[in-house]
Symmetry: C2
Subunit: 353 residues, 2 copies
């Protein structure tokens, strides 16, 4: 099936309009991690799945949880339900999710650990995810865009090397300093397989892609250039060659002052801003780069709700009006979020149309 042009797709799916140069108002909106534990229907589906990765690898259940927030809130975009650690899992690294503690991996500490990874075996797991995407594109309302995603090589590597989440990503950062002859091939491998992974998602029907670099903010600029900007640039170049019109959003969380350079050097079509980015910072980023900007309501303010949330949303909207802008949170929605606050958020963002 030949791809429709971006303009054609944007006619039906307003999430895509900012990427065609328009500034639709109210802005398109979705929320990072919008399919998740704050929804009772998610918790029900999750209970059927066994482990967390079983949910990611069940096309029927993964598609179901992806659809749940669309049914409730009618967001302009859905995002494939999956996890950034599907990539190391597909490469053969052992990945376990410990309830209440987060992911655990057998850490890669040396050349032996690196050599155990096998890029040739990723197809099995990736094709299951692609099947979820295919289902979703069939089941989603035609006006809802579908975002595919992966973790950025740097962020995925922090888990692969550290074996778990950590506040400072010290294990990966130290390996990068001390043994770049191990760390660089790991990043290169992640670039390769992530491009293949995203390719499968586009082929299966993803309208846009987001690359999550949650731990970009822990790096000083020289390391940021090497491990965040450079690998992302290669990914964007390769994807662009295959799909000149698929919008790619970067999310170098915490990049802050480095965001504009990140956008320009990687060539992403848009950038997601984290909570700490000032509204004026988002405005300047939009003006400097002329790309799509997405963000950045504090997820905790969505938990708290009330008038202060309404006011902050209006403040963000006022600043971003007339720009190529997508409303979102500054980070993923939290488990403790009352679903009625999300309904209120949608109302506030959309009443200003």
């Amino acid at each position: 099936m030949p791809f429709e042009s971006l303009a054609q797709r944007a006619d039906r799916r307003r999430f895509l309009k900012p990427f065609t140069g328009e500034a639709p108002w109210p802005p398109p909106m979705w929320l990072m991690r919008q399919a998740g534990r704050y929804l009772p229907e998610y918790r029900q589906t999750r209970a059927k799945a066994g482990g967390f990765l079983d949910l990611c690898y069940s096309p029927a259940l993964a598609a179901e949880v992806t659809l749940q927030p669309i049914r409730r809130y009618g967001f302009d975009a859905s995002i494939l339900f999956s996890d950034i650690l599907v990539v190391p899992d597909a490469l053969g690294q052992e990945v376990r999710f410990v309830e209440g503690e987060g992911p655990r991996l057998d850490p890669i500490e040396d050349i032996v650990g690196l050599s155990r990874l096998n890029a040739n075996r990723t197809g099995e797991k990736f094709s299951i995810v692609a099947e979820t995407v295919t289902r979703l594109r069939q089941d989603l309302p035609d006006e809802t865009a579908l975002i595919g995603f992966c973790g950025a090589p740097w962020t995925v590597a922090t888990y692969m090397v550290g074996g778990r989440g950590s506040p400072d990503q010290a294990a990966a950062r130290l390996l990068a300093y001390r043994e770049p002859q191990i760390f660089k091939p790991l990043i290169d491998l992640l670039v390769d397989v992530s491009v293949e992974y995203l390719t499968l998602q586009v082929e299966a029907g993803a309208d846009a892609l987001q690359i999550f670099d949650s731990w970009a903010g822990s790096l000083p600029e020289d390391q940021f250039a090497r491990w965040v900007t450079a690998p992302t640039r290669v990914m964007v170049e390769r994807l662009r060659k295959r799909y000149p019109e698929i919008p790619i959003l970067g999310f170098p969380r915490g990049a802050d002052q480095l965001s504009a350079a990140f956008v320009e050097e990687t060539g992403v079509d848009g950038v997601s801003c984290n909570t700490a980015m000032p509204v004026m910072g988002m405005v300047e980023l939009a003006e400097k780069t002329d790309r799509v900007v997405q963000g950045n309501l504090d997820p905790l303010l969505l938990v708290a709700g009330g008038q202060q949330m309404d006011e902050r949303v209006v403040e963000i909207l006022d600043a971003m009006k007339g720009r190529k802008y997508i409303f979102n949170l500054g980070h993923g929605i939290l488990q403790t979020t009352p679903p009625e606050n999300v309904a209120r958020l949608v109302e506030v963002v959309r009443r200003d149309g």
Copy 2:
């Protein structure tokens, strides 16, 4: 004893020169958490002390560990060995240090928890810390400046409310959103007692003060203004009234783009920059604010060492030369730092004289 003027003190203690408008070269240097577990002599003293807080509350041992890095490396400044959680401990909140896990406090969740804090009983613990400062000023070389410090109200409150460290400071952030009628009095109380605490340190001989706001970076700008900038401004105003010449450094870690506004609105004499701040960001901050800038070598690069460390240090020095600048890390020195890398760092910073 009347205080010497800042100019007089700066004549003998070059750490203070940037605060008199000079740009001495090589720049004055010290390292955050320079008295710590990376030093074998620290671990020996620590073993004698019992618990971690016992070490903080033993003037003889606390002074000893403060002096250790000065003996080894001849830094231009020493910093009182203590902990930011001395303040909640002095207020009567239970504070325990769990080996390998960090601090645990009985969290303040409501007005009852708040009402248990007692500002009138802080004198007992604070006077012990002041005794350490008195000893230090006697035992330190005359050319070594002595920095007093405390945690900023926001950062201390994150521990008091959350009961422990956390990656997102969610408990305190949520209390601030939901129950400002509890959170605001807590911050106000911390402003009051922290000013008294720093006052005692100055009276006992501290040459300069640093206010550590390690978790400033988790706040969106409106919350940053309310819980980081505003309380710090009040502290600086009150301290300045008492001691017009005592230099005050702020360290709003992660403030990034908000750093310049923080400096201007709080009136601090200098600002410490974290690792993610680009060198050009430090240069712009120095130019925009005309205050002292301090920072920001990656502590992990000091662990890794080698030529890449030397090169990065030279890069920072080249950018900051001729400015009112103090060399430091972007965050505290890590336990895994080889002491010989610190010796090398001192050599590289000072050879460029």
